[in-house]
């Protein structure tokens, strides 16, 4: 008798991937890959708004020292340093209170002040700027940056930048900004400019040594700001001769690596022909610009509250787009 081999139905094969799952996984993988490719493309094509480089600034240690700053002021809440109050020099006020501002005895030694900046240690840098008269701001002092020591609050001359103010151009250092990642101070100036020649610019200063490096020359600069673009640093300079802001790409050492380019035509934001960018800030995807009239006479220092204009960042064109109309006043 032969035996017939009975074929049995083999047990179902165990598959590692269920077909629907396989299809889903394939599709999902494709989506992931596409997303990665898209992100790579977008990250080069679309760029987030430049950001501030001043986030590391430290609170001056003297504000917590009751032997220097009266305790009632130091504990009153948010403190603000200012140079635009009626008092000559630097003042420390408690916002939202009626407390009189504090002024260290040395804080009026340089006369009226203008631009200020802070480093991460809480040292304060300030530049003299005449206000309606040279009586308190002699021409000889216009090229000197002063530093307020974080611990002692003592204000003393720090560095003197090249150039000299004259009776025809009584202005000098117009703005200061500190860059955290570079640990450098930048000063925008109009020193020595004449009616027919721009002699100002931007000077980079090492706070540790006082060493100076010219970063931008041949432009009279009223305001200066360094931003981080995601691909490095850029210097923004508000010009003193025209209602414009220019930009210069910086290298890793904080020095210009390209020629300046026009960043913003402020007339597109409603600036008049006589207005200039006196202060620049980036915050929340916006570039805020304080506008004031400026014509190198001391009447420029008598301007009203600045008109604030803003530009918003366009991700697609990677540019600031000026917005018509006034914005809210910028903060201290």
């Amino acid at each position: 008798m032969s035996r017939r081999r009975v074929r049995s139905t083999p047990p179902p094969r165990r598959r590692l991937f269920h077909q629907p799952l396989l299809i889903g996984a394939t599709l999902g993988g494709a989506v992931v890959v596409a997303g990665i490719i898209a992100w790579a493309l977008l990250s080069t094509a679309l760029r987030p708004a430049p950001t501030s480089t001043g986030g590391c600034r430290g609170t001056p240690a003297f504000t917590a020292n009751a032997a220097i700053v009266p305790a009632e002021l130091g504990l009153a809440g948010q403190l603000a340093l200012a140079t635009d109050r009626p008092e000559k020099g630097l003042t420390l006020s408690a916002l939202g209170t009626t407390l009189l501002p504090y002024q260290h005895p040395s804080w009026d030694d340089a006369g009226f002040l203008g631009g200020i900046a802070y480093d991460q240690a809480g040292n304060i840098y300030a530049a003299p700027t005449p206000r309606l008269s040279l009586a308190d701001n002699p021409l000889a002092g216009q090229a000197t940056i002063w530093r307020v020591a974080s611990a002692s609050a003592d204000m003393r001359p720090f560095v003197t930048v090249p150039g000299a103010a004259t009776a025809r151009n009584p202005y000098g250092i117009m703005s200061l900004t500190y860059v955290c990642g570079l640990e450098r101070l930048y000063a925008g100036t109009v020193l020595g400019a004449t009616p027919t020649e721009e002699r100002g610019g931007v000077v980079m200063i090492d706070p540790a040594t006082g060493e100076q490096t010219a970063t931008l020359t041949g432009f009279d600069v009223l305001s200066v700001l360094i931003v981080e673009t995601g691909q490095g640093y850029e210097l923004y300079a508000g010009l003193a001769r025209r209602p414009e802001v220019i930009a210069v790409a910086l290298d890793a050492r904080g020095q210009a690596r390209e020629a300046p380019r026009l960043l913003l035509d402020l007339t597109q934001a409603g600036a008049s022909a006589s207005e200039r960018a006196r202060k620049l800030q980036v915050a929340g995807g916006m570039l805020l610009v304080d506008l004031v009239p400026f014509n190198y006479s001391l009447q420029s220092s008598a301007s009203d509250l600045p008109q604030v204009r803003r530009a918003v960042w366009a991700w697609d064109t990677r540019a600031w787009v000026a917005q018509q109309g006034a914005a809210a006043q910028t903060g201290p």
Binding site: P195, T196, F219, I246, S297, A302
Partner: protein
Amino acid sequence: MARLIPLPAVLVLLAALTGCAGTNGVPGSTAAPPTTPITVLAERTGVSSPAAQERIARFQTALTQAPYILALAGLDPAQESAQGAALADERVQTATRTADGQRLRAEVMTVAVARVGDLPPALRDSCAAGCVRVIVYVHPTATTLTIIVAATGTVLDMQALPSTQPEIPRELAELATQIARTAPETAQALGVTPSEVMALMSGTKTSVEGTACERRRHLCVAPVFRWGDRALWTIVDLTDYTLVAASAWTEQGQSGRRVVSEATLQDEALAPLCDTPQQLARDGWALTYLLTSSDGLELRDVQYQGRLILASVKVVDWHVGYATTNDQRVGFSDAIGCPVFSSAAVIPYGPPHISDVDGGGFVLAMTFRSPNWPQACNYQYTLTATFNPAGAATILAGNEGRGCGVDGLYHPVLRIEPVVGATLALSDGATATPLTTEGTATWEAGATPQLVATVADQSFTIAPAWEDATRAYVFWTLAKDAEGRGDLPSIGTCCNLDSRQGPEQLIDPAEALGRTPVLWYVPAIANAERARCWADSRLVDGLLTAEVWPCHAGVVVRVSP
């Protein structure tokens, strides 16, 4: 006595390329024109355009009856209804009158269907059936009101934007263009006759661009006329209906884009006066004048009938001080001078004015102003030099308020340098005492002393022109380059009540005068509210107009026959 502000005379000035540099190679940036622009500042002598006069008449009527706002005519019924609802809205009424109920000149600029982009997000649903946008401009406050009116006639929203100019309707753009075409200053800027202007204009491209009259704070537009590479920029004041300025230049395409405003054209027209002395000769007198960085308008090399009398006359400083509650005095030491590139805090907005004097002679005058005058703590200063054909020159330093309050005391510091080689004597009318060393004196108002300057065999006197002064501090010093021959940024402080006005520092120790003396004359003038050294503003036909109570003091220089 109060007076309304006089209107400055026209002066054609060639504006050299000052105050502007090139683009520094930044593409797209604005630039100074490579050729010399011709900039002419206009004289505000009244409204000549019949169309403008008709508008003014309509304003005057509108101000007498509700809603007290000049409305647009020729609208369709729906727009007319929306306009009426907008103008009657209490928020609009509040924005177009003062706190005490006086009406401000205001007019409707636009009545149009509100597009989605015109609406705040919160109103888009409410306006699904259609809304109308009404734009009103309030001239005295330079405020633009945007009112959204629903189809039902309900006013949904009103936004007020201060210091903002609206888009102007075609009617006003055409009026601005017509004013620019027919103004005599336009022909001067082009260097052609008015009839040739019309011929030129027929072949030009015309546009009306935005600009700002940031000093007079009026609604202004810029009609621009272009033919070939030539351009004529004009600025027309649509509050006054006058030309502000005209500037002709050669464009350089996009790389030479130029932006102008009232302030920039005024500064451009005056800048040459800071570098190039101007000559003036008439009625027996000859002199040069120059705008200094901080010493105002300086008169130099003043001659009478060919004889040099004065090397220099100028106002070096204005001291103004006020009493405070704790017996301290506070104030300012104001420098007047060039509008650009200067140490002047109070600058001119127009050129010097030269006018005839009835009966012979002429006046050379210049005004310097703070930006927000006649508001508090803003100042207007004048220098007025009157030259008489009989040989007398009266030089007065003037103030037209407003200042920071009452109990203000002004001390203008005049520096008067006689011709080199002069000797000085102090005369009481009977006796002349030679002055051989530096010194000082105080004269009370009404006194009649005089200084006698003698050169060779000829002499002239310098005597007080008391006007509004109560006393004068007089100093005579040796002329030195560092003591005022060049620009003197500041001398003395604001607030002393005695002879310590600055020049006393120059006579310590007293030196021999020699033959190069300088006279410093510092009168004291007290202000008085609405009487002397004062200014205020009042509404006239809905517009703010300055009212002035001037004060003056100075010297009379009289040449002996």
